[in-house]
Symmetry: D2
Subunit: 342 residues, 4 copies
């Protein structure tokens, strides 16, 4: 049996990535592609790389008939997402890729995103979409809130370590190196090739990046106390990939064993042998996350590095993984594509 | 039923690409990975991006038991390839990715490659592996000679035009823009990132590139007379992709119609609407070839542009497409991966 | 004595390049930086790489006092340029980097640029700014029209060959590979890093690129008959550089000798030894143009490749070279910076 | 008066950068270019971007007549450097760019570099070449030891902060992002364009990078006690640039003021307004170092980011700055080139 899905916001990068993955999934059929400014265009116009697929043209959201749609992916900007989702059929299962339903506390949402939440009641039923840690809830959920790509990377590193109480909670530093597709397809001067290529810089320095809301929520819940990490993202000239370098206090060998044990049965999380470090080169275009642990010459310090593809494991791959669970499919279906190297 | 294959030369880029494609193929199992200097290493050491796959370690060629191997891919350098293939079981079906069995005329081989051919008798049974034009022969072949990646790109453009006699034969110019993975994994100064990135240049200028041997052979055979094209490759700072810009004399609309008709039923060749031009961005990591045709302000001139991924459609994807035919599988199996953009 | 200059359109890439070059020129002082949407911003805001320079803030054009300004560079979009220049003091010497005063025939201007020219009378006094060929006229000119960057590259290759009558005029093909800064700092989806990097494509195919107007005008004037070349530009993922590959009929050795002789005394044009080909890597950030000539296996064909930096020799460096002449300075002053490699 | 210099190791990237800078210096003449495997080649062969310069061919070191040479730059690999320098005339003034004379403690040298030092007596007279902090000693020195490029970047950030005692000494973390030219022109698989571009990774993780020897020596000397920082370099796909992100404890405003004050009169160190962060884009190809300071949402934490070009301020620019001092020239001569952006 094939499940029918719709994608709202199909003309952005996460939309394209969803379509790419679903193209060879086998158990999912795309019933509708919704777009805003690009409604009326064919897929070949919006994404020439997908021109070989026999898929419907982009349409406005209100042109979509959700009868017979089993699940809807929303790949829209935050704020827009909550407004659009409010208007969707109440029994429609939804995987939202925006930030709108990640934060359970409306005040935290308003603090980090600058606007009051307009669909508070729906936020209550939302499940945080970090598959490996919310699998059972996701299976039953009507609305799953996909995580931030940076937040996912950091949590893959930190979640088992905090759960097992093997690192200090008050001096966690995450230094992230992020590829440009994470900024989306919007037209900004600093995202032009001529401005981006051959150089790199930090941004949202000083604890101002919105994904901190997710870190605070999830890590504090896990620790049973407030946890506030330092988190500095950097923009590097590459299209896909997040590399998170974590500086933590703890025994490096114990840190490694904890992660290796936590992910031993996970299909997508690979913990490297102790002392090896991952590279974004080796996860590009795939749903895998590679994690490496190294000690330092300073006793009691561990360095943990995690790499994933922001568009796949950090966003659309995660969304499909969650959709697989919601639809009763094999969790890995359509997601075992090997990374594309070189 | 699963077919068992071996890959000789698994530690290069075309080897990696074969493994990547086979990883989600479904009908093929990798029995052995042969390597030379990297024999004894695990796949995770040689290609960390493939570490999630449960595959055997790299071994020396003489350690491989070919009993029970249905087909062998040889992804070795030219000259080495003919020597190794000479020593393989005589009934083993082989897809060779090197240049060694492409040229039917031993003198042409020696002229372009600089050494006499040491396995002349095998060259006679080899079928030229441009699937779309040699499908029936490939199905029955014991030995298929994969084409040069540049030669494939150019022929996808020119073959139907020469066959239909719609372009002049004496003023064909191909200007190719090639990504660096086409040069392989060998250590050369000009392939270092610091030398390659942010700049580009022509190479093998003046009719000296070896792939001209293939062009001469195939296009002359097709035309029934000598055809000598001008062909200038350029090295551009990207990892994957060949963009061939062809300058031909002929009626542009007729050129377009000829190509559109020739490829109407082909699963991997997409002829764009008249006046549109393809991009290597839109075929990256896939087995697709996009072709566009435009007229010129000068009457009687047409510009044809073809784009493909040198490692996939230009090499390992083509090899797998041929192997599918040889093994009686669906030709497209494992090859419908959508391009990876951005 | 220091000459005082102003730059209108200082917030684009050619503006930045002018400032970079003038920063170590020694004989020129920047009196005013004019900008449109970025008026009011400091140079450090608009171009942080120039923050060490003690220069005035960007101002609106009408805030500039041209008394005491010896020369004005206009780095504005076409059409805007003619409007702004019409309003400048009539005795102010001007180097315009736009397309507005390149074409002497108003009909040709309207054909290629789509709007009637609003400053016809000024067009008559403009000198075409290809320094090496209009040196004397430039020295005396009040208004110099900087050339298109593609047009400059092509003309450096073709001008001496047509002047010496050593190539055929009816089958000239120029295949250009252009870096993205040539498209300027405007916000377009296809110029985003995620869309540009790692791929390449042709554009303005089929004799539709506006720089053809310049080629037609200059080459026809030189030949004393109509000359129409084929010219296809390609966009490649690099920030700076144009590589023009020219396919011409003629004796390759004679082509080489003609170019070598023509440029023997030119400070910025380097003709490589016969058989060598240039690279954009080797002119990056400099005012040099490298030209190489190769024969082909087909007798009577020559391949000429020219490389320059579109922002320097193709635009702002050329503009400064012309300004030096106009101001009675040494032509090479401030322009001998060695290319930046790697 | 023009000073005559020689460069040993002129065929590597730091050699090329020295020649590039000296090309427009005005007060320095290159008397000899020494190379090892490339001896006998012309500059145009080794570095085509420098072909316009009338400079001598590369020669073996023993072919150089040091009479009349005022200063010698040694851009050789460590270990080779000490051997070669031992054999040079004892009164020849030398700026060494290798690691060989940076560490005053021979045991530290042997620990970090793996071989005993063969020129201990010369090490004693060497001055550590971080110009801003050793200006007077450098002026008088016979042998100046250029710093590691990572070590320079980190020290520009940390030196004034430790000197002024405004940050904690026991929890300093430096996360560095380094461009590939820092690895030199040697042929390594991971430095190939196809392996490097579009991805990034940490290396020398866990306190194993050799530049830690310099940090330990200089920061401990400054603090009057042992200081051991954590330092993790990352390799990013760009040709030039180091971005160092420092995580320190201290009052962010005080940190900013301390740096601003320390560098107020320095010609090459730009401290940005509080809250701004630098980018390697904005120092490319120049001798400038940009430093930014930001607070964190966690009180008592400051984030300091420093950017420089590893080949210029991190190596050859620094070397020339030191040579200027040694030769009695203006310190900034030949070094005021504005960064090359885009």
């Amino acid at each position: 049996m094939t499940h029918r899905i719709a994608i709202l916001g199909a003309s952005g990068y996460t939309g394209a990535e969803l379509i790419r993955l679903i193209a060879t999934h086998g158990g999912i059929e795309i019933a509708a592609l919704g777009a805003h400014s690009k409604a009326g265009q064919s897929l070949a116009q919006v994404f020439p790389h997908l021109r070989h697929l026999a898929l419907p043209d982009m349409v406005g959201f209100d042109e979509i008939d959700f009868d017979g749609v089993d699940l809807c992916f929303c790949a829209l900007p935050h704020k827009t997402s909550q407004e659009v989702i409010s208007g969707l059929p109440k029994n429609l299962r939804i995987v939202d890729l925006s930030a709108d339903f990640r934060l359970r506390d409306p005040d935290a949402y308003e603090k980090w995103y600058g606007n009051p939440h307009s669909a508070i009641e729906m936020q209550k039923e939302a499940v945080y979409g970090l598959t490996e840690f919310y699998r059972d809830e996701i299976r039953e959920a009507r609305l799953v809130a996909g995580t931030g790509c940076n937040a996912a990377t950091g949590q893959y590193m930190l979640h088992p370590l905090i759960a097992a109480d093997v690192i200090g909670l008050d001096d966690i530093i995450l230094d992230l190196k992020c590829a440009v597709s994470g900024a989306g397809r919007s037209l900004k001067e600093n995202l032009l090739h001529a401005e981006m290529s051959e150089g790199y810089n930090a941004y949202a320095v000083g604890g101002t990046h919105r994904h901190l809301g997710e870190f605070d929520q999830e890590l504090s819940k896990l620790a049973g106390r407030d946890v506030k990490i330092q988190f500095t993202p950097h923009l590097v000239p590459a299209n896909r990939g997040i590399l998170a370098t974590g500086y933590v206090s703890g025994d490096a060998r114990q840190v490694h064993e904890t992660l290796a044990k936590a992910y031993a049965s996970e299909p997508f999380i690979e913990v490297l042998p102790f002392g090896e470090t991952p590279s974004t080169h080796h996860v590009r275009g795939s749903n895998f996350c590679h994690i490496g642990v190294t000690g330092d010459r300073i006793a009691g310090r561990a360095i943990v590095v995690a790499a994933l593809d922001n568009l796949t494991k950090g966003s659309s791959g995660q969304a499909l993984q969650n959709a697989n669970l919601m639809l009763g499919l094999e969790e890995t279906q359509g997601l075992m594509l090997a990374p594309c190297f070189p």
